[in-house]
Symmetry: C2
Subunit: 138 residues, 2 copies
């Protein structure tokens, strides 16, 4: 799990738990990941497999996944997790993809950035970390 990130609960039966960082309680870590100069952004099966790899490597649990191909270009997809979600929207004509990785609890969302950068051969990646639900009451 990310350094300094402590699961609010490790009760396996509790599928939607919060996290704490530096003593402040949050609902989860939301990574906003933008890939530029990326490839294979119209390959729906490859995109789904890469999302499934992110879920597995992050130690998350996949509940539901759905990807939609657009004509002439582009894919949108969402993976609903026990720990929140991963989403993707691609603009192959621009070699750009917008991913979100939102996870709570005892997971490693940060591993997804390298998996995505490598899989889609991105020239540049921008990752913004949002801590959602700061100070939500215990």
């Amino acid at each position: 799990m990310p350094k300094g990130l402590i699961p609010h609960s490790i009760d396996a039966a509790q599928k939607d738990y919060a996290v704490e960082r530096n003593g402040v309680r949050y609902s989860g870590v939301h990574l906003i990941i933008d890939l530029y100069g990326a490839n294979r952004l119209n390959e729906i099966a490859f995109i789904e497999n890469t999302m499934r790899q992110c879920v597995a490597k992050a130690g998350a649990t996949l509940l539901h996944i759905h990807l939609h191909p657009f004509e002439p270009n582009g894919v949108s997809g969402v993976a609903v997790l026990a720990e929140s979600h991963i989403s993707v929207h691609t603009w192959p004509e621009d070699n750009y993809a917008a991913f979100d990785v939102f996870m709570c609890g005892d997971t490693r969302p940060e591993v997804c950035a390298d998996i995505l950068k490598t899989a889609f051969q991105a020239e540049r990646i921008e990752v913004t970390e949002l801590l959602r639900g700061k100070g939500m009451k215990a």
Copy 2:
């Protein structure tokens, strides 16, 4: 559409188009919406209906919607749109919900904030606007 937001294309056949603001091209507008002191966060049918209302009022097109109930509390859901997605994760025990509204093209994502605040009787709402894919090549 939001003031200053110009669709990159109004070609109805192009389901995944970019937007421009102040002459800079973006993939879309991503609203990070946190509801605090909110209610009805365990009512899955009400949550789905509210998400569908957001899609309709924003002028977006629903392609797929899936919501998952957690035990003992909480709902996660995603709506895949022709214009990107809406996601929700709720922590009813904390009266907290995390929504994302990511839309591109000729839509009105900003209307969703008031719809969500009113529907879930939130005491406080925090809305952060992210412009995704800044400067992606045309």
